[in-house]
């Protein structure tokens, strides 16, 4: 096994709000290899998006990375100067967002936006930058790219807009791509296309892909490994097939049980009781304990990180038998 291209260790990002400190990300660790796809799964407010933004150093005040490290090819990005961080963003680590209508600038043409992105890292002529942009558009499957590059975002369909965003992320051949729910805003049929294409592109370029999603079904078809987040931490992680077949953490199990594809027709969909805790007032110990069927007094203390081969979990009472 080679050294991981990105290694995150004990990352914590807190938001210092008037109501208190929101621990959006609190002690997240994972590593990812070149060409690997990691699915980061969790419900809204689990800290998965904040984790993504933290990787690029894109946390705005009142948020701040309070501890931990994000090592990109051995260099720790936490604590880097603004200029050094900027030089890495888009060049070696890129990000794609949820809604391409919101991310692309509506009043600049695709050519203008893409050449700005080229020039952010390389001093090339305008013509050369444009040529690079067209090649990137062709690679993500934009038809008639050389002509359409002068169009504006509103002239593209949702799926095409997201392809443009992906092309921008791929411009400099980054080592790591963070994709924050990039298919959520799209039609289901387009979702599947983008999903397969992203996987292909990551494999071709050798980039590591971190796919952030609330949709376990989507991620399971795409990711080599899955990390499940709950209340700012990764509660379970491992190879996709094994986590899905045999979840160890009660939360993962609950999530899987709530998947519509696994439900018995005619019966109510199983739910996890309760609601996600407020990040401002997390219960002591395991944050899932108030909703957990297996919880007891031991869960009031911090659960240890247990490992078994390629997988790991954080639970005092892991589910050891196979999920039904």
């Amino acid at each position: 096994m080679t050294a991981p291209v990105l290694a995150v260790d004990d990352l914590a990002t807190h938001f210092f709000t008037r109501a208190g400190v929101a621990k959006a990300v609190d002690g997240v660790s994972f590593a990812i290899q070149r060409g690997e796809v990691l699915g980061l799964v969790g419900e809204s407010g689990s800290g998965k998006s904040v984790t993504g933004f933290s990787l690029l150093g894109l946390i705005d005040p009142p948020g701040r990375i309070v501890r931990g490290s994000v090592k990109l090819g051995g260099e720790d990005m936490v604590g880097l100067s603004r200029e050094r961080l900027r030089a890495l963003r888009g060049k070696r680590i890129a990000m794609i967002f949820q809604d391409p209508m919101m991310t692309l600038n509506p009043v600049l043409s695709i050519a203008q936006q893409m050449t700005l992105a080229v020039h952010a890292h390389e001093k090339v002529s305008q013509a050369e930058a444009r040529e690079r942009a067209i090649r990137a558009l062709i690679r993500v499957g934009i038809p008639a790219a050389a002509r359409r590059i002068d169009d504006y975002p509103h002239q593209f369909s949702g799926g095409m807009r997201q392809r443009v965003a992906i092309a921008m992320a791929l411009l400099h051949g980054p080592d790591v791509i963070v994709a924050d729910e990039p298919t959520t805003a799209l039609d289901v049929s387009i979702q599947a296309q983008i999903l397969t294409e992203m996987r292909e592109l990551a494999r071709e370029t050798g980039a590591a892909l971190i796919w952030i999603s609330h949709d376990l079904a989507t991620v399971s078809s795409l990711a080599d490994r899955i990390a499940v987040m709950y209340a700012g931490r990764i509660v379970e992680e491992g190879p996709t097939a094994r986590v899905l077949r045999d979840p160890r953490h009660p939360y993962t199990r609950g999530l899987l049980g709530a998947l519509p594809s696994r439900a018995v027709p005619g019966q109510a969909l199983p739910q996890i009781p309760g609601a996600t805790p407020s990040l401002l007032r997390l219960p002591p110990g395991c944050p899932f304990s108030p909703r957990c069927p297996n919880a007891d007094d031991a869960c009031r203390t911090e659960p240890p990180r247990a490992t078994e081969g390629a997988r790991a979990w954080r639970c005092h009472h892991p589910v050891m038998e196979r999920a039904a």
């Binding site: 690029l56 900027r86 963003r89 888009g90 967002f97 509506p106 509103h154």
Partner: protein
């Protein structure tokens, strides 16, 4: 685009027609100019003769029709007081107002927008708070008072800038312009600053609000994720996004200042159209008032049309579905 322009021109003609009628009736209602025009001790015969000469014995609708007919031939009538054609009277005063207003509005934009963008970019820095304090001041302090203070400070106490008048002018296209000579620029400085203070405050607030909002948007986050520097993000992404409201206010301010720079022109005895309209109201010089207001309406229409055309070049989404 051509269809859009034609449509707008037809709208403009309708607006002009309604506007001219409103103005005519409004001015008619203000008072009878005869009392001002004819000396009280004139005999009945002279009175009747003067009234007939100005067409004031006719009913309102007939006077309006006559006025409209002449207007269409480019004749806006003669001033009762100055005895010269109204159009040339206004045009002789317009350059003074034009240069004052343009200088004020343009400098307000060129200074106000960067300051506002800075304040929106770093909302919590002391400099931004100072900028916002300045803009509150610019909004709330009355123009005439600032004008008097400026004269007191720069003209009376320091003696470095003149207190009024246009200074030395240069004739270009048959009219005199102050901004082409050093002396003229000195005379322009104080009134232009006085006039621009309020507009600058408006530009600061507008660009600050826009910048703050856009800096939090996904567009900026995505640009940052692509590694764009903050300078490029502000200069290319944000500026273009906030430019539509700025152009709108620029147009409105340009129009209203051209028409109603009265206070500043009075304080700095600047011989522009603002002073002319005040004088003609006090002497009930009806043709001047009517012609002036009709011209102002025309000016607003031209400015609004230009603003609409600028919109289309700024925002590609507006280019379709027009016309």
């Amino acid at each position: 685009m051509l269809g859009f322009v034609i449509q707008r021109l037809m709208q403009a003609a309708a607006v002009m027609l309604v506007m001219s009628a409103l103005v005519f009736i409004g001015v008619y209602a203000i008072g009878n100019p005869i009392d001002v025009l004819i000396s009280p001790d004139a005999d009945q015969h002279t009175r009747a003769e003067v009234i007939a000469r100005f067409g004031l014995d006719r009913p309102l609708w007939e006077q309006y029709a006559t006025f409209l007919g002449r207007l269409l031939q480019g004749d806006m009538g003669r001033s009762f007081v100055f005895g010269m054609p109204v159009l040339s009277l206004i045009l002789s005063r317009l350059p003074a107002t034009l240069e004052l207003t343009l200088l004020a509005v343009i400098s307000a934009t060129l200074i106000g927008v960067p300051l506002g963008m800075y304040a929106g970019y770093k909302p919590h820095s002391p400099v931004s708070k100072a900028i916002m304090a300045l803009s509150v001041l610019g909004f709330s302090v009355p123009t005439f008072w600032v004008g008097i203070l400026l004269i007191f400070g720069f003209a009376v106490q320091l003696g470095i800038l003149p207190a009024g008048g246009r200074g030395q002018t240069v004739n270009v296209l048959g009219v005199g312009w102050s901004f082409l000579t050093l002396d003229g620029l000195k005379h322009l400085a104080l009134p232009a600053f006085n006039l621009s203070l309020f507009k600058m405050s408006m530009m600061i607030r507008l660009s600050r609000a826009g910048t703050r909002e856009i800096m939090l948007s996904d567009t900026v986050k995505f640009a940052r994720a692509a590694g764009l520097s903050e300078r490029v993000i502000l200069g290319r992404h944000v500026l273009k996004l906030i430019s539509i409201p700025i152009v709108t206010v620029f147009g409105l301010e340009l129009g209203s200042t051209l028409a109603f720079a009265v206070v500043t022109e009075t304080i700095f005895s600047w011989p522009g159209v603002g002073k002319l309209i005040i004088d003609s109201i006090s002497t009930l010089d009806r043709p001047v008032m009517v012609a002036y207001l009709v011209l102002v309406a025309f000016l607003f229409i031209i400015i609004n049309l230009s603003v609409d055309l600028v919109y289309a070049t700024l925002d590609p989404r507006l280019r379709k579905g027009r016309g």
